[in-house]
C-alpha cells in the first residue's frame, strides 16, 4: 500500500493517473461509441428496442438498404463536390494569401491574424451570414456580380438544384480559408531566407523560385494541410442546416448531414449508424495521411 502511495506522489503512478483518467474518459466517449456504432449498423434498431441491447441481427441489410436509396449516388456526388471544392478553394486562396503576407510591409502579421476571426465564429452564424449573402432575389452576392457585369439574371444559389451544393461549398471555403492560410504561413516561415537569395543570385525568377524552393520545402506541410482539410470538411455540419437543409430534393445533401437526418429526423438509428460507418472509412484514410505527415514533428 505504501509503495503504491509513494509511487503516486513521486513516481510512475503520477504519470499513470494523469494519462489514465483522461484516456478512460476519451475511451468511454469516443472508443465505446465507435464500436457501438459498428454494432448498430448490423442491427435492426427501432423506437421499441432503442433501450435494450438485444436487438435483432440484420446482417448487411442496412448497408444494402442505404446503397439502394434513390438519393445515394446523389449524396456521394455532393459529398465529393463539397470536399474537393472546399479543399481546392481553401488551399489555393489560402496559399496565395500566405505568400502575399510573407512580403514585408507594416502590420502584415496583424492583418493576417484578423482573417482568423472566421475560424472562431460559430458555424451556424457563418451559415446564417452566407445564407443571407447568397439569397436569390435580395442577396448581396448577386447584386455585386451583376454590378461587375459577371452575370445578367439572378442566380438562385440556394434553391437551384444545380447550384445549392456550391452555395454551401462557397461558405465553407470562406470559413476554412484563414486556417489554411495560417498553417501554410507557418510552413513558409520555416524556409530559410538565404535559399531564396542564393537562387536569386543564380538568376532564378519568381516562378522558378516557387517551384524549386517553396513547393519542395513545403511538401510535408502541404500534405498535412490537405489531410486536415479533408478531415475538417467531413466534420463540417453546421453550414448545412443553416443554409440549405440539404435541399432542394437532396441536391445539397452530403454524407454527414444525411447520417444525421436518418437518426434524428427519420429516427432510423441503424441507417444513421450505417451512413456514418461508410463515411468513417474516408476519415480514417485521411487521418492516416495526416498522422504520417505529422509523425516526426509530434515525436520531436
Amino acid at each position: 500500500m505504501r509503495r503504491i502511495l509513494s509511487s503516486i506522489t513521486d513516481g510512475k503512478g503520477f504519470d499513470l493517473i494523469m494519462v489514465g483518467v483522461t484516456m478512460l474518459f476519451l475511451f468511454a466517449l469516443a472508443g465505446v461509441p465507435l464500436v457501438y456504432n459498428v454494432v448498430m449498423s448490423f442491427q435492426q434498431v427501432d423506437m421499441f428496442n432503442l433501450n435494450t441491447f438485444s436487438r435483432p441481427f440484420a446482417g448487411f441489410e442496412n448497408y444494402v438498404a442505404i446503397v439502394s436509396q434513390p438519393e445515394f449516388w446523389l449524396v456521394i456526388r455532393n459529398t465529393a463536390i463539397f470536399v474537393f471544392g472546399s479543399i481546392a478553394g481553401q488551399f489555393i486562396f489560402g496559399f496565395a494569401l500566405a505568400i502575399f503576407f510573407m512580403l514585408s510591409f507594416p502590420f502584415a502579421s496583424t492583418i493576417r491574424g484578423l482573417f482568423l476571426v472566421s475560424w472562431v465564429m460559430p458555424g451556424l452564424v457563418v451559415g446564417a451570414l452566407w445564407g443571407w449573402i447568397l439569397a436569390g432575389d435580395f442577396g448581396v452576392l448577386n447584386a455585386i456580380l451583376r454590378g461587375l457585369g459577371i452575370i445578367d439574371g439572378t442566380m438562385f444559389w440556394k434553391s437551384d438544384p444545380n447550384l445549392s451544393i456550391w452555395a454551401v461549398t462557397i461558405a465553407n471555403i470562406w470559413l476554412g480559408l484563414a486556417f489554411n492560410m495560417m498553417l501554410l504561413s507557418v510552413g513558409l516561415a520555416g524556409i530559410p531566407r538565404d535559399l531564396y537569395e542564393a537562387a536569386e543570385l543564380d538568376g532564378a525568377n519568381g516562378w522558378q523560385r516557387f517551384t524549386t524552393i517553396t513547393l519542395p520545402m513545403m511538401r510535408s506541410t502541404i500534405g498535412a494541410v490537405l489531410a486536415l482539410g479533408l478531415i475538417y470538411t467531413l466534420q463540417q455540419f453546421d453550414l448545412f442546416p443553416a443554409i440549405t437543409e440539404g435541399g432542394p430534393a437532396n441536391s445539397s445533401n452530403v454524407a454527414q448531414y444525411w447520417a444525421w437526418q436518418w437518426s434524428f429526423q427519420l429516427f432510423d438509428f441503424a441507417k444513421g449508424a450505417t451512413v456514418s460507418m461508410m463515411m468513417l472509412i474516408f476519415v480514417l484514410v485521411a487521418s492516416i495521411v495526416y498522422v504520417r505527415s505529422t509523425r516526426h514533428e509530434v515525436r520531436g
Partner: protein, 275 residues
C-alpha cells in the same frame, strides 16, 4: 515577388483583401440596422439609410436570448472546465516522455481528433439514452462536447509543455517536492499563458457548439444560442434583419475577445497545430 515594392502599396492591398474577406461580418451588422423594407431593396443599400438600433432589444426580447445565451454560457463553461481538468495533466505527461507507449497514446489522440461529430452523435445519443443521461441534457452535451475538444486541447497544450525546460522541474524534485508539487507549483505557472489561450479557444468553440445540443436537448428552455438561431433559420427565412441582429449579439463578444487576444491565439494555435 519584388521585395522592394513600396510597403505602403502592399499595406493598402492587404487592407483591401482583409476588407473583402471580412465583408460578411460588415454585412451582418449593416443588415441588422436596416428596416424591414430596406433589407429587400434592389440593388441593396451598402450603408443603412436610417440605422435603427431598437432591433437589438426587440430581438433579444422576442427570441428569449437571455435564456439561450445563458445556456450557451453554462455549456461552454462546463466543456472548458472538463477539458482543462482532464487535458492538462495528460498533455504534460505526453510532453515529458518519449517511448513507444507515449507514441501509441499520441496516435490514439490524433485519431480521436478526426472523428466527425455527425458520426459520433448517433451512438452517443442511443448510449446516453440507455444510461439515462438524456434526462440531464445539458450535462450530456457538456460530456459529449468535452470528448470532442480534449484531443485538440491535448495536442496544442502538449506543444506548450514541450517548451518548459525539464531542468527546472528536476531541480524542484531534488529540493524535495513531490511530483504533484513540481507539477502544480513549477510547471503549471510556466505554461500558464499557453493553457489560458487554449482554454479560451475551447470556450469559444463550445460557445458555438450546435450538433450535439440540437440532437440531445429537446426542451427549449435548456437550448443554447446556436439551436435558438437555427429555430428561425432555413432555406425560406425572410426575417433577415432579425436573424442578423441575433447573430450580431451572439458573436460580437467572441469577435471582441478574439481581436483583443488575436496575437496570442494565433501563436498558440500555430505553435502546435500543424507542424
Amino acid at each position: 515577388m519584388t521585395r522592394v515594392a513600396a510597403p505602403k502599396l502592399l499595406l493598402v492591398l492587404a487592407l483591401a483583401l482583409a476588407a473583402v474577406y471580412l465583408f460578411p461580418l460588415y454585412w451582418m451588422y449593416a443588415t441588422s440596422l436596416k428596416g424591414a423594407s430596406e433589407i429587400f431593396a434592389n440593388p441593396p443599400t451598402f450603408w443603412p439609410r436610417e440605422p435603427d438600433f431598437s432591433i437589438f432589444p426587440a430581438t433579444w426580447e422576442r427570441r428569449t436570448m437571455d435564456t439561450f445565451l445563458w445556456n450557451s454560457l453554462v455549456i461552454a463553461t462546463g466543456v472548458t472546465t472538463l477539458t482543462v481538468l482532464l487535458g492538462t495533466g495528460c498533455a504534460y505527461v505526453l510532453a515529458r516522455y518519449r517511448n513507444p507507449w507515449i507514441d501509441i497514446g499520441l496516435f490514439a489522440i490524433l485519431m480521436l481528433q478526426v472523428l466527425p461529430a455527425s458520426v459520433m452523435i448517433t451512438p452517443l445519443y442511443v448510449g446516453f439514452n440507455q444510461i439515462g443521461l438524456l434526462d440531464y441534457p445539458r450535462t450530456a452535451v457538456i460530456i459529449a462536447a468535452a470528448g470532442k475538444s480534449i484531443p485538440f486541447y491535448i495536442v496544442l497544450v502538449r506543444a506548450t509543455f514541450m517548451s518548459v525546460p525539464s531542468e527546472l522541474e528536476e531541480a524542484a524534485l531534488v529540493d524535495g517536492n513531490s511530483r504533484w508539487g513540481a507539477f502544480f507549483f513549477i510547471v503549471l505557472p510556466l505554461a500558464r499563458n499557453g493553457i489560458l489561450v487554449l482554454a479560451i479557444l475551447t470556450f469559444m468553440q463550445a460557445f458555438g457548439e450546435y450538433i450535439y445540443s440540437k440532437s440531445i436537448i429537446t426542451t427549449q428552455s435548456l437550448q443554447p444560442a446556436s439551436v435558438g438561431l437555427s429555430g428561425f433559420l432555413g432555406p425560406n427565412s425572410t426575417d433577415w434583419n432579425g436573424i442578423m441582429a441575433y447573430a450580431a449579439m451572439y458573436v460580437t463578444p467572441i469577435i471582441l475577445v478574439f481581436v483583443i487576444l488575436q496575437r496570442r491565439i494565433v501563436s498558440g494555435l500555430t505553435s502546435g497545430a500543424l507542424k
